[in-house]
Symmetry: C2
Subunit: 386 residues, 2 copies
């Protein structure tokens, strides 16, 4: 299999972009990506594109990407996989470049969620990403369905609501130096615990905000990497895993089998294990999801996540920083863009250019989970070709 | 690039399946595909899946495929590209298998459009596949936007409404022996011309029906073809092309640049030209679209389509039969399934097993166009490895 590397990356700020549409956000991210390519990129070099988009209501997604970036002469495929959309778009582009069909591919993730201060695409999005006949009518939209997992996890593991709060506090702190982050202010454990309840055990500060934004990557074949940079970031592994959609079919709510499968596939392709991961961007749509994912990704043992976060291991300065960007919790979460933006952050980290730089990191992991925990995508990146 | 072949194919009947949902239709198509594999298929051989789905409202598409077929241990990517979804799903699976990531991949296309006799997903579908700010509010949903092209085509070319009618008459005739087809009755040119007007120049019989259905293919690497069959059908070329979404941006309504680009890419990959195509399944959502596509695919010269259809060349028994299955017009059009079902038909044709068999064909082409003519996908298949 031909090796593939990322040689350019860019993203918009994640925030409530009330004055901008997806047709504005996409070209902003692509332009920043183009400017990031060390030795320059002629846009006519781009041979194909993959577009991760989940929930925007502006119309035909592939066409909107082609039109808004004036990329009318290349094929554009929309990939949709609930909140794993972004890293699955990276995965599909990786396969196409590895196959030899293309040498230079664009990956874009974008979503426009906030239509006004009182209106978002949340309900359309919720409907698309779960079972409409069963889970949706009983109210199992994102906060509620993840809360089922979190409540059981708190019951079975040593974790407490304080441990959930530590995730949120850490990620807010990490977002402070990130100019692209939506929530750049510190919070305390006490504030998290006393915030208005959304759905037990999640208070308002356990939850990601709703965000608009776009992110873009340039993925190229090993044969042409030198044309663009002397500091590529290699796509060492990609993995996608699924699990049953409906919650009554999930045998154990304290683990996400989709993540376990996705991580296994990505680690196998990369030829490494979790011990080699120096830092990670983990899908922290709700605080408990980051804790459970530590275990599913193999960062710590089962029910070891509470002690792990408490130890400071996942704080910048610790052994394996998680969500140095601020994560979904504080950087924001436009669902189609999120996974792609995780790879933008890790591209910068592995090149020593991040806003909240983790020193000495060579190998990193990006992780999404969505579709009521029914799908996960994992990408392993490294400054070493391997 | 590693060669890739289709070794199994199956589909449901296309019709108004009022009593069935997409969770019923998908496993029906997959089971027929499994049964079609000459030397047998153990479902655990399937390593990954691509799912083309456009408009169903049942919820999380990738998860529904995995759940309904009990394929929980493989990755499933949903591809969406308006009415080019089916052939783009084939294209993405082809790249992944060609890359070496997988040896055995499943491609499924499905949509549940007809919810009841008075209700379909047409308006959701129309919204997803065009520009919501401009074309949609002025009424440019599918019949109207294609009618703009057809009206201009009738004005500039020698074609008349009679020539459009000949397409519908031919495709209804072709559907007669096809047990999977929705409209299995003959019609006359006079009936087409006197049918109630939908939007000029399209009367009711110029238009595809709305349909429910699913189709499935098994795509494998050349290394393992022999394990499954001695009569594979090779995926010789895949191509995807885009054009501007909004009609005010289209410079010439008498051609579809997306098709020209998709065909160019697929022919280049196959190393052949249109002269080598023995039969084709062409996207005849409206009668005129088949005529314009003859030209864009290189089957005849510009403005030569009227004479071409009149000559009988595209009727079974002619030099290059088009839509021997009945096409979208008479076989039916569940949008996510359509392109995959075209490949099911061509798989059977190239193995001599089709319901309306074209004798002696070795190389065939499948073609979709959608997203108000903003996207096209083309697949070239052959019984010869090339």
């Amino acid at each position: 299999m031909r090796r593939v590397a990322i040689v350019g990356a860019g993203m918009t700020a994640f925030k409530e972009h009330f004055a901008l549409g997806i047709k504005d956000l996409i070209p902003m991210a692509v332009s920043e990506m183009v400017a990031s390519v060390d030795k320059g990129l002629d846009r006519s070099d781009i041979q194909a594109a993959w577009f991760g988009e989940l929930t925007t209501t502006d119309g035909f997604p592939s066409g909107i990407l082609a039109d808004s970036c004036d990329l009318l002469d290349i094929p554009v495929t929309r990939v949709e996989n609930a909140c794993a959309t972004g890293n699955d778009a990276v995965r599909n582009a990786t396969f196409a470049v590895a196959s030899g069909a293309f040498d230079v591919a664009l990956v874009v993730g974008a979503d426009k969620v906030r239509e006004s201060s009182s209106r978002s695409t949340f309900w359309e999005w919720a409907k698309l990403t779960r079972d409409v006949a069963w889970d949706y009518p009983v109210g199992l939209v994102a906060p509620a369905n993840f809360a089922l997992h979190a409540a059981r996890y708190l019951h079975e593991s040593p974790a407490t609501r304080e441990h959930l709060a530590m995730v949120a506090v850490k990620n807010h702190k990490h977002a402070l130096p990130n100019p692209k982050a939506q929530l750049r202010y510190e919070i305390t454990v006490e504030q998290v615990l006393s915030a208005p309840m959304v759905v037990a055990p999640f208070g308002l500060l356990d939850c990601t905000p709703q965000s608009d934004g776009a992110a873009a990557l340039l993925i190229v074949a090993e044969d042409v990497v030198d044309r663009y940079t002397d500091h590529p970031v290699w796509v060492r592994g990609v993995g996608l895993g699924l699990d049953r959609v409906m919650h009554q079919h999930k045998a154990d709510l304290t683990t996400f089998p989709a993540t376990v499968k996705a991580a296994k596939a990505a680690y196998a392709m990369a030829g490494i294990g979790p011990a080699e991961i120096d830092l990670a961007e983990v899908h922290d749509c709700f605080s408990a999801v980051e804790l459970i994912s530590y275990e599913d990704l193999g960062f710590t043992e089962r029910f070891g996540a509470a002690a792990y976060v408490e130890s400071g291991a996942t704080t910048v300065g610790g052994a394996r920083p998680v969500n140095a960007s601020g994560g979904l919790k504080a950087k924001g979460h436009p669902p189609g863009a999120t996974g792609v933006a995780q790879c933008v952050e890790l591209f910068e980290q592995l090149r020593g250019e991040a806003s909240n730089q983790v020193d000495g990191a060579t190998t990193a992991l990006a992780h999404n989970i969505g579709g009521p925990t029914a799908v996960s995508a994992v990408t392993v990146l490294s400054s070493a070709k391997g």
